[in-house]
C-alpha cells in the first residue's frame, strides 16, 4: 500500500509519529506500506493538521491529483475534529469540514478512517491502517447513557 503524507498545517507532532512508524520499533514496512513522493502514486493519503486557509487550495489540488480509489487516513485530533483551534479565523476545521468542500469540487473520497490522538501514537496509526484495510473491526462505538435521576 503506497501512502502519501499530506500536512495541512499541523504542529508536526503527528507527522513525526508517522515517521516514527517507519523506524525500527514499529516498522510499518513489514505490512507493505511505502512512502511515496507524489499523490499521483498514492493509494492512501495520511492527512494531518487542521486545514489552514493558506493550505486549502493546495490540499484540494493534491487530493484531486490522486487516482481513484482515494482513501484518506485522518490522523490526530486536528484532522479529525479541528483540534484545539477548530474555530479560529485561519483554520477551516479538520477533515469533516474539508469533506463539504470536496463534495462541492466534485472530488470523491472512497474511504476515510479517523484516528484520534494528540499526537496519535504509532500503534494507533497502525491500528487505523488495519481498520482501513478491513482486517479489524473498529472498537469505538457511539454510546449514549441515560443517567438515573435518583
Amino acid at each position: 500500500m503506497w501512502v502519501f503524507h499530506l500536512n495541512s498545517g499541523s504542529c508536526n507532532g503527528c507527522d513525526i509519529e508517522v515517521l516514527d512508524a517507519l523506524t525500527p520499533y514499529f516498522d510499518v514496512e513489514r505490512f507493505g506500506i511505502k512512502l511515496v513522493a507524489s499523490p499521483r502514486h498514492a493509494d492512501v493519503v495520511l492527512f494531518t493538521g487542521p486545514i489552514t486557509r493558506e493550505t486549502l487550495p493546495k490540499v484540494v489540488r493534491a487530493l484531486r491529483a490522486m487516482p481513484r480509489p482515494r482513501m484518506v487516513l485522518a490522523i490526530g485530533s486536528c484532522a479529525v475534529g479541528g483540534g484545539i483551534w477548530h474555530d479560529s479565523y485561519n483554520v477551516i476545521g479538520g477533515y469533516p469540514a474539508l469533506e463539504k468542500i470536496l463534495k462541492k469540487e466534485g472530488i470523491v473520497i472512497d474511504k476515510v478512517v479517523f484516528v484520534p490522538g494528540c499526537p496519535a501514537r504509532p500503534e494507533a496509526i497502525i491500528y487505523g491502517v488495519l481498520v482501513m484495510l478491513g482486517v479489524v473491526e473498529p472498537k469505538s462505538k457511539r454510546e449514549v447513557y441515560k443517567v438515573e435521576s435518583k
Partner: protein, 168 residues
Amino acid sequence: MVKLKFVKLITVARKAGTVTRRYPFEGPLLTEEFRGEVRLDPEKCIGCGACTIICPPNALTLHDEGEVRVIRYFVGRCIFCGMCAEVCPTQAITITKEFELAAPTTEQLLRDLVHERVKCRICGKPFLPAKLLKAANSDVPGSENYIDICPECRIKIGLKSILEHKLG
C-alpha cells in the same frame, strides 16, 4: 585502516538486534502513566459541566435541549490532557489507556451522557438535572422549599415576598 571505521556500524547494528515490537501481534509500547481515552461514569456524574468549561479544545460539550441535558464527549477532538478528570467534583471521569480509537465515521467517536432535567413546579419549564440540584444543595438548610423551582420563578417569588413584606 581508520578510513573503514564506519564499518563499525555493523557491530552496532548487530548488538542492537531486532527491536521491532510486532504490534498488533505483540503488545504496544505503553507505560503505566499513559493517558488514553477518558471514561465518564454515569453513576457518579451530576451534570455540572465543570469538565466542559475546562476542556481546551471543547471536546466535552454541554447541550441543554428539550427535557434533557447532554454531556457529549467527542473523542476526535480530545487532546488527552486529563484536565477534566482533575476538575470533576465527583471523580466521575477516569483516564483509561485506550488508544485504539480509529473509526470510519465521526459518529462512532461520540459518547453521550443524558441527564433528565427537573421541571419547575410553577412554570413547568425544565431547568437543571436532579442530581446536580441535590449535590449543590445537600447541605443548605431549607433548600427543599425551592429546589424544584426554576431560577426565573425563584426571582419572581422572592420579589413578591419582599414587596408583600414591605407593604405589610
